[in-house]
Amino acid sequence: MTGNIVQIQRFSTQDGPGIRTTIFFKGCNLRCAWCHNPETIDPKPSLGFFPDRCVGCGLCSQACPENAIGPHRQSFSPEKCRCCGICVQTCPENALSLFGEKKTVGELMALLLRDRRYFDNSGGGVTASGGEPMLQWEFIRELFAACRQNGISTALDTAGNVPFAHYEALLPLTDLFLFDMKIYDDAKHREYTGVGNARIQQNLKQLLDRGAAVEIRIPVLAGVNDSPEDMKKTAVLLGNAPKKVKLLPYHTLGLEKHLIVGQNNTRKFQTPEKEHLQELAKLFACPVEI
């Protein structure tokens, strides 16, 4: 079995405790309007283009066996591209990148073990993120089992929109769930993410009921989900069951990525004020980090 992976980030310090290696899985079943990792949405591999680095040498065009790239990279025909990666290897400027690679558990473990001492000394470990890693839950079950065997702590960063049975399978292997709560209101949730949140909330409740360690992550977008009324409802729902709530203010770093993956109609949102976030934090019964 292989995992479909976009990126592996070592010395990751924001996705769970300690020093971690975060594995970004490819494929997502939400379509958040503010998505920071657009390259992780489509499970199929895709070609990324960094226009700033391109010097227009045309080598990619010559190398492409499918004639998918015109003499200038701008004339790219995605329907012809089979993501063979030859152009990526050819480009001397690293202006092209392939998103989506198959990796075995063995390959991932070899990489994870290289930072084993950093994990041990910091209380860190591995985080499966994405995309929605739970769409590859069987692979993650295998990966986390191998981590268990090697004493590497595990965390799973999920948006919650899969059958609970899949979480159930991972419960004994997962030390921490990083669980996204995007918007409290179901209709609004559907508007901004493409799906309703009934199953997500149900899954969260069940995880908490089963005694899982859960850290809630809430992306905060000014004018979308940052009204005290909405946040209050989320806070009431959560009570003091989660270990921690992390408020993640919207940022624009993902915008450039949309261009890289060939999307240029991305919505822009407003970042909430720091003071406002501090006010929102007071609504929760469990510890909050901003």
Partner: protein, 772 residues
């Protein structure tokens, strides 16, 4: 920090940059006329005494400690006079320089040369660690009596002059302290008068008294004769009995001790330069000049015994807390000796100070102690090791050392690719030389004079990577043999020129008085010459590129590659870009690349050891260090196979090549820890860390875990600057708002806005390690 200290520091930072300790220069000129005709040891000692008898005793009533020199803004006339004097003293041929001043790298010609105005025969080397423990326990009289006793048993006239010089010099310091006692009396402070009278001869009794004595001894030798970058030894160890006695007697609290140490560290720093003394272009910046040419002192804390018992004590904690509070000062430097199993609370304190950009860095006993033993130091001496200056190692009180060579590891690579001839000299007749290391290079410590090697045969005949490495090794061994040959020739000249000379450090070392022999020519137990390997990552990446291009992928033959390099990639832009962007690099935790770090350093240290024999006085010791000179070192190297064009900078210190490490800090540190540091005695790893790494409630714990792991994995040294590129650019635009912004340059901190533009840009280009 006490408010009054804070105010004094603020005032100090705002001081007029033109203030100089001028009277020293005039007094030196007068002394020269009076004493130059005397035998060297007596001329030195009497000049030293004359200075201390006549410089103004500046008596401050604010602050706990006394001791300061008088600073003025010199008139144009005074500047001209000093400049003329400087020329008279220092304009001389290299051969003369070698005999008079012994080394010259810190006396490069520059716009402030007149400040260094001292006669060359009065110059002292500094850097070494005195017998501070004996000073604290026994007072100055101990040293005077030791020299007197030895003098009574000596008949040789020259040795007698040497010992007399030592006695006179110690008496001069004692008399200087008495002058302060007298002024204290005149200021109506009989208690201080009594204390200073006592400290001039008797041992101190309390922590405060010990610190005051150390300050006055340092003041007397640093400001007058420029005792550069003194190593202050393991201060938390030798002062602990004083602290414990004070606490037990109830006359000192922990908080008072902290304030006292902060005052002490600031006081010691007060007279030093603000500018970044190692960056030639910073000399053009409008910052406060140094008073007398000396740079920063180094205090060592922590460490373990040979058996692994921790030496961390309450004073270790206090020194680290103090330097953290004083993070707006660029100096002095606290060096923490860490080890496996170091106390977590202490190590976190150290990491917090580093995160605050305090002037502090860390060395690892687990690699340092074995490295000293590798170079023949007795284990019980290696246990006491200290560091001084820009990451240089010493055995306190027992080791004479200072001179060094910045050994360019990329030069033998070029020579291996061109049958022992520099690329630029291909086809030209080989010049006649008695030694590849020209005298100027030996004295300055830089390889700048065009180096040839041995003919290692036609490249066509090198069938494997092993064959090529054998050629690289042969070039390394040849150059180090040449270095040794040059040093032995220097030794003969220096022994002759050094006859009858003494320097201030001879008063306070082990062996110099007992043997009636100065440390330069053999008084101390150990003598060290540092060989600082530079451009390691450049060479590692180049070797991996050769392996891949020539022997694995077989895209080019070795002769073809060499031809492309000789032509500096002319017409080969695509290959150049592919080498830069498509070839794996050191710094990404790729074992196939990183293995060359061990290969190169093993060849380097073996070649060094080949040149260490019992008959040689000076032991060569290997370091991995470029200081700030990685750009300069690059000028003398043609194109390299890692995709570097001729003349471009080499890799900096122990870091990967700029921008090559892409996989995050853990991967980078894993690569660096593959260097066999247990054979390397010093050198820095500079990390520039984005503030986001240490943000958050457990940021310091993460930093501490990161660094602890690096050292467990065999890392040797760490020093960090926590600042993002945007802040640095902002500071370039609005320097007046960032006058306190300290950054770590190499073995010292500098105020960013006081660095030259080139040095600033270099700092911005250093890879910024962020959090994700």
């Amino acid at each position: 920090m006490e408010n009054s200290l804070k105010q004094r520091i603020d005032a100090w930072l705002d001081q007029d940059y033109r203030l100089v300790f001028y009277e020293r220069i005039t007094l030196c000129r007068e002394a020269e006329a009076m004493f130059r005709h005397l035998p060297p040891a007596l001329a030195y000692a009497k000049t030293f005494a004359y200075l201390l008898e006549n410089i103004t005793v500046e008596y401050e009533t604010q602050g706990m400690f006394v001791g300061k020199v008088k600073q003025i803004i010199p008139t144009d006339e005074e500047r001209r006079a000093a400049s003329a004097l400087y020329s008279r003293w220092w304009d001389m041929p290299l051969e003369e320089f070698q005999k008079t001043a012994y080394f010259c790298y810190s006396f490069k010609k520059n716009s402030r040369e007149w400040l260094a105005s001292r006669p060359p025969w009065l110059i002292t080397q500094g850097h070494l660690s005195f017998q501070w423990k004996e000073l604290a326990e026994n007072g100055l009289s101990y040293f005077e009596k030791r020299a007197q006793d030895r003098l009574a048993r000596e008949n040789d006239p020259e040795a007698r002059q040497y010992l007399e010089g030592i006695c006179l010099s110690i008496q001069a310091i004692q008399n200087y302290i008495l002058r302060y006692a007298q002024v204290a009396g005149e200021h109506g402070d009989p208690a201080r008068q009594e204390l200073l009278q006592r400290l001039s001869c008797q041992p101190p009794e309390t922590l405060f008294e010990a610190l005051q004595l150390i300050l006055l001894v340092m003041l007397s030798i640093k400001r007058t004769i420029s005792y550069d970058a003194p190593c202050m030894g393991r201060i938390d160890q030798y002062l602990l009995p004083f602290y414990e006695r004070d606490i037990a007697a109830g006359r000192l609290t922990r908080e008072q001790a902290l304030s006292m140490i902060e005052e002490f560290l600031f006081k010691d720093m007060e007279g030093a330069a603000l500018y970044d003394h190692m960056s030639p272009d910073s000399l053009e910046t409008e910052v406060r000049l140094d008073v007398s040419g000396e740079d920063v002192p180094y205090f060592i804390v922590g460490g373990r015994t040979l058996d692994g018992v921790s030496c961390v004590n309450p004073l270790s904690h206090l020194f680290v807390e103090a330097i953290d509070e004083l993070h707006m000062l660029k100096a002095p430097v606290i060096i923490v000796r860490t080890f496996n199993g170091i106390e977590e609370d202490f190590f976190q304190k150290v990491c917090k100070a580093m995160a605050d950009n305090a002037s502090l860095y860390v060395y690892n006993d687990e690699t340092q102690i074995p490295a000293f033993i590798y170079y023949g130091i007795a284990p019980e001496d290696a246990e006491q090791y200290c560091m001084f200056s820009c990451n240089n190692p010493t055995i306190p009180t027992k080791m004479g050392s200072l001179r060094q060579i910045w050994f360019n590891l990329a030069i033998p690579l070029e020579l291996a690719l061109n049958r022992g001839v520099p690329f630029a000299e291909t086809g030209k007749p080989r010049p006649e030389k008695t030694c590849e290391f020209a005298l100027g290079d030996r004295l300055m410590g830089m390889m700048e004079s065009g180096y040839y090697g041995v003919d290692t045969g036609a490249l066509e005949d090198m069938r494997s990577m092993e064959d090529f490495l054998a050629a690289y090794s042969a070039q390394l061994r040849y150059l180090l043999a040449q270095l040794r040959q040059g040093l032995q020739a220097d030794g003969a000249v220096e022994r002759e020129a050094n006859r009858g000379r003494m320097r201030i450090e001879d008063c306070f070392l082990e062996g110099t008085v007992e043997n009636a022999c100065d440390w330069v020519t053999g008084g101390t137990k150990y003598h060290q010459f540092m060989v600082n390997g530079g451009g390691l990552a450049t060479v590692v990446d180049s070797l991996y590129a050769i392996e891949q291009l020539v022997f694995v992928q077989k895209q080019l033959t070795l002769p073809q590659l060499a031809e492309i390099l000789r032509n500096d990639f002319s017409g080969q832009e695509l290959l150049l870009r592919r080498l830069q962007n498509k070839m794996n690099k050191f710094g990404n935790d790729i074992p196939e690349v990183d293995r060359y770090a061990k290969v190169v350093v093993d060849l380097f240290t073996q070649a060094i050891q080949e040149q260490n024999r019992p008959e040689y006085l000076y032991t060569l010791m290997g370091e991995i260090s470029t200081l700030r000179d990685f750009s300069t070192e690059g000028w003398y190297v043609g194109a390299t196979p890692n995709g570097r064009k001729a003349g471009e900078p080499l890799s900096e210190n122990q870091s990967p090549c700029t921008g090559a490490d892409m996989e995050g800090l853990t991967a980078m540190l894993n690569s660096v820890s593959s260097i066999p540091f247990y054979h390397i005695t010093g050198g820095p790893l500079n990390l520039r860390i984005h503030p986001s790494v240490i943000n958050g409630p457990d940021g310091i714990q993460k930093l501490s875990a990161l660094f602890r792991t690096y050292f467990e994995n065999g890392g040797m040294q760490l020093q960090i600057s926590v600042v993002d590129s945007e802040t640095l650019r902002q500071a370039q635009r609005e320097p007046e708002k960032y006058k306190n912004l300290t950054v770590r340059v190499t073995g010292y901190n500098a105020y960013f806005t006081h660095m030259g533009r080139e040095a600033q840009d270099e700092m911005i280009r250093r890879t910024e390690h962020g959090a994700f």
